[in-house]
Amino acid sequence: METDALIQTLARNPKAPGPPAAAWLAISLVAALAYSVLAILIIAGARPDFVAGAPWVAAKAGLSLLFALATAPLLLRLSKPGQTTGGWLPLLGVLLVGCAMTVGGSLASMADGERVRAFTGGGFPICAIVIPTLAAPSAAALFFWLRKQAPTQPVLAGMTAGALSGALAAMAYALTCPVDSAAFVATWYPVAILACAALGALAGKFALRW
């Protein structure tokens, strides 16, 4: 088709379609969080001492929420061509450094015998597996949304979508997670979220081309 003819065809329909992307993202996030909470309550149930452990649940969910709050605006920016990451990427770095310092500080203040238990939670840190598994459907939903946008950095956008889905899953997992040690939480929650980010980056490389 000649370029001028193409322009004539396109110009017949100038109006931007549908509600804004940010609205769809917000809806997807609420749905993903609701799914994660429901899934974790059905599969594992809330921790038995939920009321007594409520401050810890809040702390773990809060840490995960911080990751979600940093990655959601970043994802929105990466979905639009010509936008910078606007300081959100360094903020994620600051969060990770904060976690590392918490781990270091909390382990340093412990007696030698306690450290391993505090770090691993007295067994294999299963959350590093459960959180990414739980996050997969949320990540799929975010990728579905992202494919309708125009990410010009597919790997970075995929990474961010993965991290965001992981953060939502971690918020839900906090309801059931029985280990309450700062060293454990500040290590394995970020590790789980970073694992989701890595998988998202890999998927983004292939699934987000347009």
Binding site: M1, T3, D4, L6, I7, Q8, L10, A11, R12, P14, K15, A16, P17, G18, P20, A21, S79, K80, P81, G82, Q83, Q149, A150, T152, R209, W210
Partner: protein, 177 residues
């Protein structure tokens, strides 16, 4: 046309103004054509395909334009994405997308039709090769027409064009000229 004018056209377009949208797309098509011809100087047809590709992408992704951002930055990011995608797919060596900013898409310097670049390159060739390539490839004459015009045999035209193109591709690869 300046950023402010283009931006205003885009805002009117998204509100449903077909006339503004036609003007905008035509203007962007020209800027894109100049830009891609500069980037893909041996392949004007590929450049035109890419122009259409980007126009279509601008259209289907028009909802991702944020009125608070610069239109030129938005268009440039999409053009650059499509160009890199194109280069990766064709795995062509010798033509590289250099890292620039969006202003390079909207500069008026040069007519962008690549004839300037080609003239410079052709000057590296011997007279006979230069002349035959000009006749066959640029004026698109048949081998027979070119032969009679240059006053040499048809076989001579074919050989000269072949050798000349080979030499040109070597020059482009080595980054001379």
């Amino acid at each position: 046309m300046e950023e402010t004018a283009l931006h205003a056209l885009m805002v009117r377009s998204l509100a449903g103004d077909s006339g503004a949208y036609t003007t905008l797309l035509k203007h962007l098509a020209e800027a894109l054509r100049r830009y891609f011809r500069r980037k893909l100087f041996q392949q004007p047809h590929e450049a035109e395909d890419l122009v259409q590709d980007v126009l279509l992408a601008l259209h289907t992704k028009r909802a991702t334009f944020d009125a608070s951002q610069r239109l030129t930055a938005w268009v440039y990011a999409i053009a650059q994405y499509k160009l890199i995608d194109h280069l990766r797919r064709s795995k062509r060596r010798g033509v590289m997308a250099s890292i620039e900013d969006e202003t390079s898409l909207f500069t008026d310097e040069g007519d962008g039709t690549a004839s300037g670049d080609i003239d410079t390159l052709l000057n590296h060739l011997p007279e006979k090769q230069r002349e035959t390539i000009r006749l066959v490839k640029l004026e698109e004459l048949s081998v027979r027409e070119a032969a009679s015009k240059a006053g040499i045999s048809e076989a001579d035209v074919k050989v000269s064009v072949h050798r000349g193109l080979k030499k040109l591709s070597r020059i482009v690869k080595d980054g001379e000229g």
